[in-house]
């Protein structure tokens, strides 16, 4: 039985903040195949191409036939928990302050035996399902969950170490002027966030949706303009210490290429809103998020980037926009490394065309703001690092994995 999470009390301002520690994140290169799977929420192990043996721990020659062809493939995650132990003391500082900590041996239906973290509801001798998750070091670990969902399952203390669950956390949505930001506020409110700060720039410019935004439970409107360094800094100074998840919804979507555009002003706006806006948020909020990565139930957990999937492959019809998104993607990868010491995840959520005004002429399938918002919440609840939302994004991801050059040509037609 998982104890339901209790809403944390107000932090005692005179108490020292517990600093983040990290479990050992060193892995062999091959083992990072698990990290790639965990980043997207997949369960994949090495499957020998020559004799079909599923093997674990990750290795460089098949223990059945010595083949070197051991790609990671999705496999069945079901198994039985054979034995468990509760670690009461550890030489590692991270685990030392988190004992008692349960681990166990799981015999997978797919074959291998896996030493895994245990969810509180995983019972010795019974069936479990394994999930690959990223722990605070950013490397993959296996966690055994009960075979069927149990009540308050997400509240398990050890599972919550691996996820960025918005429940009881405080959110900053950087731009509430657009429909994505508004849908995001609703989705986080429904997911149990305790405060949702919604940033609005240029309050003197009216926009539709303000009334509905104010009606959402736990929403607090704050002035925030990602193109204004002082505005971002001020918001971080005022509220940074009580923001656990930043969701950057600031957008600047315009059609137009690089050659086929007249003038630089739109490109400058794209860079200023998207890339420099991200940089401002990173500089203002990064350090405080990193500092508070282990600060209780509502510890700082994640920075969420909403990125066009065309960050990965330019779409010339929206070519300048794509290029700017690519810059943001690279910046996000840097932020991932910089925030890791705090155990704070950078979640990149990729989407194809949205069902919003600046993609008006683009044919379906398109992603609605609500679908995007729900996907963001789910991705945080799962603790993944890269999420692809909607058919177009998934399609592009698959094509990229097989032949990027063909995709490059296809995007240009």
């Amino acid at each position: 039985m998982t104890e339901p999470l209790v809403r944390p009390k107000r932090k005692n301002p005179l108490k020292r903040t517990r600093l983040p520690l990290s479990p050992q994140g060193v892995r062999s290169r091959t083992a990072h195949g698990l990290t790639a799977a965990a980043a997207e929420g997949r369960f994949a192990l090495q499957v020998c191409l020559d004799c079909n043996t599923v093997t674990y721990p990750p290795r460089d020659a098949c223990p059945s036939c010595l083949s070197a062809r051991l790609p990671f493939r999705d496999v069945d995650c079901g198994g039985t928990l054979i034995a468990e132990t509760t670690v009461q003391t550890s030489t590692d500082p991270y685990f030392r302050e988190r004992t008692p900590w349960r681990v166990g041996t799981v015999k997978l239906d797919a074959g291998p035996v896996i030493v895994a973290h245990l969810h509180g509801d995983a019972v010795e001798g019974e069936r479990v399902r394994l999930q690959l998750k990223l722990d605070k070091s950013g490397s993959a670990i296996a966690m055994a969950l009960p075979e069927k969902d149990t009540e308050n399952m997400a509240d398990d203390v050890h599972l919550r170490e691996m996820t960025c669950d918005p429940k009881f956390r405080r959110i900053l949505i950087t731009d509430g002027r657009n429909t994505v930001g508004q849908a995001m506020a609703k989705a986080f409110s429904d997911a149990g966030a305790s405060i949702i700060f919604v940033g609005i720039a240029d309050a003197w410019k009216p926009f539709p949706g303000l009334g509905d935004l104010r009606k959402i439970e736990h929403v607090e409107i704050v002035p925030l303009d990602v193109t204004d360094t002082e505005s971002v800094t001020e918001q971080a100074e005022q509220n940074g210490a009580r923001i656990d998840i930043v969701v950057n919804t600031a957008e600047h979507i315009r059609a137009g290429g690089v050659v086929d555009r007249h003038g630089l002003t739109v490109a400058r706006e794209e860079i200023d809103v998207r890339y420099l806006g991200l940089t401002r948020l990173a500089q203002a909020f990064g350090p405080i998020l990193r500092f508070r990565g282990a600060d209780g139930v509502n510890s700082a957990a994640a920075f969420v980037n909403l990125l066009s999937v065309h960050a990965l492959m330019n779409w010339p019809a929206y070519g300048s926009y794509s290029a700017t998104e690519a810059a943001c993607l690279s910046a996000a990868q840097c932020m991932r490394a910089e925030l890791r010491p705090g155990g704070v995840k950078v979640l990149n959520v990729f989407f194809g065309p949205l069902d919003t005004e600046w993609f008006q002429t683009v044919p379906p399938p398109k992603v609605t703001p609500a679908a995007l918002a729900n996907a963001v919440v789910r991705a945080l609840q799962q603790g993944v690092e890269d999420a692809f939302v909607g058919d177009v994004a998934e399609d592009i991801r698959q094509r990229l994995a097989v032949n990027p050059k063909a995709l490059e040509r296809e995007m240009a037609t």
Binding site: A83, T85, V115
Partner: protein, 392 residues
Amino acid sequence: MTSGTIRKSYEGIVACLPVTIPYRRYSTNSAQWWLGRALHELTKRARLGLKDIDGFAVSSFTVGPDTAVGLTQHFGLSPRWLDHIPFGGASGIVALRRAARAVQAGDADMVACVAGDTNHVDSFRKMLSTFSRFAQDAVYPYGSGGANASFALITKNYMNTYGAKREDFAKICIAQRDNAISIPHAMMKKRLTLDEYMSARPIADPIHLFDCVMPCAGAEALVVCREDTAKSLNLPGVRILSTIERHNAFATDPMQVRGGWELDVGELWSMAGLMPKDVDFVQTYDDYPVISMMQFEDLGFCSKGEGPDFVRSHTLTNDGTFPHNTSGGQLSVGQAGAAGGFLGLVEAMRQLTSQPLGSKVPDANACLVSGFGIINYDRGLSSCAAILARLA
């Protein structure tokens, strides 16, 4: 299974010069220092010079970045046979096997087999986090409980499968403490009561404090040479009747309930021409009492699953019906890293040459020594054993 070829006897080869450098809980000295002390003691006792040692085998976890090669220059040795044996608790018997064949073949005449480790305040933590690739990738990130957590899982599974109780493991530990009372350098110098064992603080359930060895600094060593060489130097030696060695046995067992000994145990006894009832005392590798219990089963003293019953129906002290780990084992004396793999061997040699450090085993004529080690992922990979006998 045995290959069918008859393995060559070790006739004419002896192990002599059992050396122990007294253990210390923590040491600021390096592993090289500890190994050097052991080597020094060997040459002093044998009244040998460095040039007389023409074979050298080393086992150590903390001697890095050196291996055996670097140590030849460090210690002024110029051997024509050299081996580095990083097999943990299996190091002693494996070194014995390698050295014996080398001497037999004439590749070397005097092989010094040395094991030792230092123990700095952070040695244990550092060793755990870089123990092996599989440990790095698939064990250490899971609670970082070290070998204690890994063997807790093995212990739990063994208890679930065969009905062993904590009281059964207690009996092994308590008897070993009794056997260590007279060992001057033992880390644990007091007797242990059942009450103390049962109420000890949990480390990783079901393993509690007194199931765990205490890491420390120390060294053990011995020499392998021809029988006539030992005689000419007036060094009491012991005969090697048989040995076995196996790595990564029973890889498909979901959890470890048996070691590789089970595969080769027939050969161990037939090569020695003995049966289990013929040995007078036994040294098992006791990183955890559950493994000692498995060794009783896998080495032929009882069937698989009868370990608990075997322990319940015997007394394991030096004056008991089944003298076991007669200098207290690692659980009492401490684990000086790789030296733990030599501890049983060196103690057997002392008893078989009537020079025990502590209490004497009555009628000590034949001994089985077992080694086990290297929990690479979820089980100990290496297993080995030797039957030694008093030189008539």
